[in-house]
């Protein structure tokens, strides 16, 4: 029976090619708009390390100026980075199962075979915990040891891209490379790893959140060993009468916040203990004259951290809503056209009813026709949507905005959009199919 209905449906659709094209086109446009905006929205809002959402915590303390908040628009929110004093003290705790500190410094890489001039490579100073906590995949080798953090030993981990550039992607583990003119041993090369958004470090505004990751990684203490000023985000406040910040020593003792800290706390009990530890430190420092703002120590889960930094842009939300309004208009349009079309063909349904077809069968027959429409609209919409995503990427190719950077074909987003297409079009077809199913045969037979 289904085959017969399908044949009838195709016949009916081909009888009015203009209307059919119009309906399929309208559904496809609506679906494509939804695919593009949903994909981008989904990619922006997702948590790239959801499986560790309940064990990883970013640490913040409000060390800011007592006279005014860090962010005047959100006075209760502490800076998202820590000062050197606080970060190094908190890092000394052994309550967390793992812990890490993050900052960016300048790096120049040289000495690879065949390399003429040094290349600039944004370098992350961090600790071994970084690779373990964030499940960073390695292509060759692995993270450095805890002892390398202490030394610090001259060990370096290269990103996939940098290894491609310097060693043509070959296994470079064990080789020596010049990092800022010092000899470093390569201990690991990352596999391709570029979580978006860059959840572990959301500083750097719209570009940084979705930007690429560092090209090289070295132990955190190399920053202070070599007096390398951080080149990522840094915010400072100067107390009245305090000398301006000039030397690296000034920086380490300053109020400047420039270090992101993460801890891994597998149980609620550990989480409580670590928060108590932070609070005790706060109280001690508060008594000594620092931390004169209200106590605002916080451990943020990854999902909370992403929300706190308002990763999903307002433009994205706006475009998503408009795309849905557009789809609604397309569907209402389809309901109208289907209704008109079915009712005009109602005499045919009348004849079939008179010949013994039941109401349910007429309904089913028309619903099959709707399903054919929905499927064609969805497929065309998918193609248009993929083209649309490429268009968005091209549009945003040279932009600070993150919108284009995440506009990639994403199976989950597209599955959502297709499901939406199918369900909504079928729903739109329900009423017209039901209406025509209700026609009484007598009325149409009379007028024949």
């Amino acid at each position: 029976m289904l085959g017969y209905y399908l044949r009838l449906a195709v016949k009916s659709l081909r009888r009015t090619p203009g209307l059919t094209a119009l309906m399929v086109g309208a559904i496809a446009c609506g679906i494509a708009a939804c695919i593009v905006t949903l994909t981008v929205h989904h990619a922006m809002g997702r948590n790239p390390i959801w499986w560790k959402n309940n064990v990883l915590y970013a640490v913040t303390m409000d060390s800011w100026d007592p006279r005014r908040p860090y962010d005047p628009d959100r006075p209760t929110v502490a800076p998202s980075q820590l000062t050197y004093l606080d970060a190094t003290y908190l890092y000394g705790s052994d309550i967390p199962q793992r812990k890490t500190l993050l900052a960016f410094v300048q790096g120049a890489l040289a000495g690879a075979p065949g390399q003429s001039a040094p290349v600039w490579a944004m370098t992350r100073i961090t600790t071994a915990g970084f690779f373990h906590m964030f499940d960073v995949p390695f292509e060759y080798g692995g993270p450095w040891s805890a002892a390398a953090d202490q030394g610090p030993q001259p060990v370096i981990v290269l990103s996939h891209r940098e290894n491609q550039r310097l060693y043509d992607g070959r296994n470079s583990v064990g080789r020596t490379i010049l990092w800022n003119h010092l000899r470093f041993r390569i201990v690991g090369v990352l596999a391709h790893w570029d979580p978006r958004p860059r959840f572990y470090d959301l500083t750097g505004g719209g570009s940084g959140d979705f930007g690429g990751s560092a090209r090289a990684f070295v132990p955190f203490r190399w920053g202070s060993m070599l007096h390398l000023f951080p080149i990522g985000s840094m915010s400072c406040w100067v107390a009245p009468g305090a000398p301006p910040l000039q030397t690296y020593r000034d920086l380490l003792a300053s109020n400047c916040v420039w270090i992101t800290m993460w801890v891994e706390l597998p149980t609620a009990a550990r989480r409580e203990r670590f928060l108590d530890f932070v609070n005790a430190y706060w109280a001690q420092q508060h008594a000594a004259g620092r931390f004169q703002r209200p106590r605002n120590n916080h451990l943020w889960k990854v999902s909370q951290w992403l929300r706190l930094h308002r990763i999903v842009s307002n433009s994205s939300r706006l475009l998503l809503r408009i795309a849905f309004a557009f789809l609604a208009v397309c569907l209402i349009n389809t309901v109208g056209i289907l209704l008109a079309k079915f009712l005009r063909a109602a005499p045919l349904a009348g004849v079939r009813r008179a010949l013994g077809a039941r109401r349910g069968e007429i309904f089913a027959q028309h619903l099959v026709e709707v399903a054919v429409l929905a499927l064609s609209g969805a497929i065309l919409g998918l193609l248009l949507g993929i083209a649309g995503l490429a268009g968005v990427r091209a549009l945003y190719a040279h932009s600070y905005s993150a919108y284009g950077k995440v506009a990639h074909f994403d199976l989950i987003g597209i599955a959502w959009a297709l499901a939406l297409a199918g369900v909504s079009t079928l729903l739109a077809g329900l009423y017209p199919a039901w209406r025509v199913g209700r026609t009484s045969p007598a009325r149409y037979l009379k007028s024949q």
Binding site: A108, T247, L319, I322, A325, V329, C330, I332, I337
Partner: protein, 401 residues
């Protein structure tokens, strides 16, 4: 022409579903159209906000030391001497931030010592006496820095500058009653305002962008500095390539991190707004098109299903014009209903946008323009099928189908 609405209304009443659907479409389209146009207008205003900078003939090279053996002070004076000696270069300066990019510092400024009273937040930029000329920014009061006022970079011991040039907006924010010139302002150090420049967009991209304070101070902290260069018209790209190549090879412990024209930086700065405007306009235009197709479809259907009725009407003496206007008036009724419902919807959405997205309150002129546009386009969509209806011969009424 006498128009009797009664037969129209009864026709609508007999088959209300189609008309209702079009009303719904029209109202949603109107609501989105009006608000999208309003948001696009806001974005375009932000794009068209002048930068105040010569973005045509300028480029920037960002230099970073790759070791703490890098002597930034020596390197920057070498680079400046090289750049200033190149034929085709109008002016070059060294700075600690790059306007239009977000790369640079900001600071709080007070008009009383000891950080008392109200603080004004502003972008800050350390440059030498050629800075304003390089950016193409004119002074409107006071004077430029003198060469002897520029504080060189001395690692760990740089003397604070005691002069400052502020933009018009910053001068007004600090001293609303004018007379900023010659006044002392306080950030980490007290400084005298010796000049007021025209507004230009500083390094920080947050609002308000055109507040900037300039210090006579050379960069170098952290082994990092920016070379800003202005060339004669048409020579920018060639000189950018040349300078980049030379400077990349000039320093043993320094690398060129980035080399870009100001035009590229400016495109990147406003591309977010421009692209959102493009996407919004595109979706709204498609929506309007689909809505018109809906109107076209409904009118075509009505014409088709009322063929005999129209024939009878014509046989009874209606002119072609009457038939056309009958359909257009019927369509106008639907459009009016859609416009009323859509206006309510548009206002609700506008209100919601104001509350949640900080979009200014919807301008009523936009609503009025939206209604006019939609009604005009909607009538146009119904016109072709209505004309086809007018061509139906009266004899159709007497024939059986």
């Amino acid at each position: 022409m006498s128009l009797n609405l009664r037969p129209l209304l009864s026709a609508l009443r007999r088959n209300p579903t189609g008309a209702l659907l079009v009303t719904l479409q029209v109202s949603i389209t109107l609501a989105v159209l009006v608000n999208a146009a309003w948001v696009v207008h806001q974005r375009i205003m932000r794009i068209e906000q002048p930068t105040g900078i010569n973005t045509r003939d300028t480029f920037v090279l960002q230099i970073s030391g790759s070791s703490n053996q890098f002597n930034a002070a020596a390197a920057e004076s070498e680079d400046l001497a090289y750049l200033r000696g190149l034929p085709g270069i109008v002016s070059a300066t060294v700075s600690d931030g790059v306007p239009l990019t977000g790369d640079g510092g900001n600071t709080g400024v007070w008009i009383e010592p000891g950080q008392q009273g109200q603080v004004t937040l502003t972008s800050e930029l350390g440059m030498d006496q050629d800075g304003l000329k390089t950016l193409g920014v004119r002074l409107i009061a006071g004077r430029n820095f003198r060469a002897d006022e520029i504080q060189p970079y001395v690692p760990g011991k740089q003397a604070p500058a005691s002069e400052a040039i502020v933009t018009e907006s910053l001068a007004h924010a600090l001293f609303p009653h004018g007379n900023a010139l010659g006044k002392t302002i306080y950030s980490s150090e007290p400084r005298t305002i010796i000049g007021i420049s025209r507004d230009f967009m500083g390094p920080q991209l947050g609002q308000p962008t055109e507040r900037t304070i300039i210090y006579p101070r050379l960069p170098g902290q952290g082994g990092y500095y920016d070379l800003l260069v202005r060339t004669q018209p048409g020579k920018r790209d060639a000189l950018l390539r040349l300078a980049r190549k030379h400077i990349a090879a000039a320093h043993r412990y320094g690398v060129v991190v980035d080399a870009r024209t100001f035009a590229q930086n400016n495109r990147r700065r406003d591309s977010g707004n421009r692209n959102v405007a493009i996407l919004l306009a595109l979706v709204t235009a498609l929506m309007l098109a689909v809505c018109c197709l809906g109107i076209f479809g409904l009118t075509t259907f009505n014409v088709g299903s009322r063929t005999r009725q129209i024939g009878t009407h014509r046989a009874l003496g209606a002119r072609r014009r009457d038939v056309v206007s009958r359909f257009l008036v019927e369509n106008a009724l639907i459009l009016t209903a859609g416009a009323v419902l859509g206006s309510v919807l548009a206002l609700l959405i506008g209100n919601w946008l104001t509350l949640h997205y900080a979009v200014p309150r919807l301008n009523m002129a936009y609503l009025a323009a939206g209604i006019v546009t939609l009604v005009a386009v909607g009538e146009l969509a119904a016109w072709q099928p209505a004309r086809r209806a007018a061509r139906i011969a009266p004899s159709v009424a007497t024939r059986t189908v």
